[in-house]
């Protein structure tokens, strides 16, 4: 949040500004003053990032007000909003960030706000477009509802996914080389890496993604702005349900998990994360099913368990819970069918038999 103070001796002008600022949720109006002297008294306590300042005021001229404000808060940016065009030189001398003539147009104000947010390193979420990154299921990066990014090569895609895997952290060159180009000689690999980074930057730029939304800094650190990254949301919901195990939260977890982490890719560096996320998902589904069972909504529980069984057929507790549901509902047919499928998978894939307790549940159903 950026704090702004508005100073103009005319109240309607203040209200106009206030209205314009409504489009910028990252800016909080921390004070509005019709008397600049009053503002100067309070300004140090507010220590705003910016002051919108009129120039022609009876109590104190805006230029003098600005220099007093800067004495008190040297890091504050001054933005003059005025009907007078002849003070721009003085504004530059005070290093004012901008000088806007009244009446202010929306477009001109947008320019000012771009300067403000850029200077303060604020990431602005585009209102119309939302950048979605999908790591569950097939890896995809793209504007919501639009054709996703097409990567130049499979390696470029892997490199980006690898940086994303470590997003927010610096990854050393050697670490990248070890994981992405383990089999080729270092000199060649370094060259590939430089090319890869260049192509990622170019691809993101051409796709219209600003660096503040997704940018790679020098030491191979991918920084993300306000993007809809499914694993972030997933983790958020996992934390929520840990503290507050509600059906709604578990449903959100189930919905986000549209497949395994970076599914279909042959990237060994993703294996551990894939396993952990899958485990978290299975646990959430079991809790969700139990919650539905408690509410006697057996069909909802069954639906989630069957889906989970498809993803992870070896997980015994899924089958156990399913069979228990069929025992409660007395659905012998479904129980037998499921048991046979489970038995078959275990035999074919792992060469083992179901645990005795599973067999017992099944045979107990009449």
């Amino acid at each position: 949040m950026l704090r702004a103070v508005l100073i103009d001796d005319e109240r309607p002008a203040l209200r106009g500004l206030e209205h314009l600022l409504k489009d910028y949720p990252m800016i909080e109006i921390a004070g509005m003053f019709t008397n600049p002297l009053e503002a100067i008294k309070k300004i140090a306590g507010i220590n705003p990032q910016m002051v919108f300042l009129d120039i022609n005021m009876p109590q104190l001229q805006g230029i003098d007000a600005a220099s007093k404000i800067l004495d008190l808060c040297p890091d504050t940016d001054i933005i003059f909003i005025t009907a007078h065009d002849q003070y721009a030189i003085e504004a530059f001398e005070l290093h004012a960030l901008d000088y806007v003539l009244k009446p202010i147009s929306k477009d001109r104000f947008e320019k000012t706000l771009q300067r403000v947010t850029k200077k303060n390193g604020i990431i602005r979420q585009s209102l119309e477009k939302n950048l979605a990154i999908k790591c569950f299921g097939r890896f995809q990066v793209g504007w919501a509802g639009e054709e996703p990014i097409k990567w130049r090569t499979e390696k470029t895609k892997e490199l980006f996914a690898f940086l994303l895997h470590h997003q927010g952290q610096e990854v050393s060159r050697d670490e990248i080389l070890d994981h992405i180009w383990p089999e080729i000689e270092v000199e060649k690999a370094v060259h590939q890496l430089h090319n890869g980074i260049y192509y990622i930057r170019k691809t993101l730029e051409e796709y219209g993604i600003e660096r503040s939304l997704a940018g790679i800094s020098g030491n191979y650190c991918l920084r993300l702005g306000a993007v809809a990254l499914d694993i972030w949301l997933f983790r958020e919901h996992i934390t929520v349900v840990k503290n507050n195990p509600q059906i709604k939260g578990f449903e959100a977890v189930a919905e986000l998990y549209t497949g395994e982490y970076l599914e279909g890719s042959d990237w060994p560096w993703a294996d551990l994360e894939r396993e952990q996320l899958s485990k978290q998902h299975s646990e959430a589904i079991l809790s969700l099913a139990k919650a539905y069972i408690e509410k006697k909504q057996f069909d909802r529980a069954e639906e989630h368990l069957l889906k989970a069984f498809k993803r992870d057929p070896y997980e015994e507790s899924i089958t156990e819970l399913l069979l228990n549901i069929y025992r409660t509902t007395g659905d012998k047919n479904k129980a037998v069918r499921h048991f046979m499928e489970y038995e078959k998978v275990l035999k074919e894939e792992l060469g083992i038999k179901p645990q005795e307790k599973i067999q017992r549940i099944c045979s107990a159903i009449k």
Partner: protein, 102 residues
């Protein structure tokens, strides 16, 4: 101005370019951090170069140098970092440079 700049140890290199086209080419290639653009009387071309450079690189700090007061407002429109009036005042010049470098 050249002397003042050369006295500043943070400035690595200074180029003087007279032709606007070669100026744009050089900027594209070398991406300087700071540039000074001299504005003549009611100078639209000078302001336009500033605009084009800004589109190329948002982060560049442009300082317009002019003997006209009237163009300062346009300089704000372009997104200039500074505007210096001729004859140049050494203190104002240094304070601006130090601010850009900081």
């Amino acid at each position: 101005m050249l002397t003042w700049l050369s006295e500043n140890t943070s400035i690595k290199e200074v180029s003087v370019i007279k032709n606007p086209d070669s100026f744009l080419e050089r900027v594209e290639r070398e991406r300087p951090e700071i540039m000074f653009i001299r504005l003549g009387n009611s100078d639209i071309p000078g302001l336009n170069i500033g605009r084009m450079v800004k589109a190329m690189d948002q982060d560049v700090s442009i300082v317009f140098v002019s003997s006209e007061r009237d163009l300062a407002l346009d300089a704000y429109e372009v997104g200039a970092y500074g505007y210096l009036l001729c004859p140049l005042d050494r203190n104002k010049f240094n304070s601006l440079i130090n601010r850009i470098i900081a």
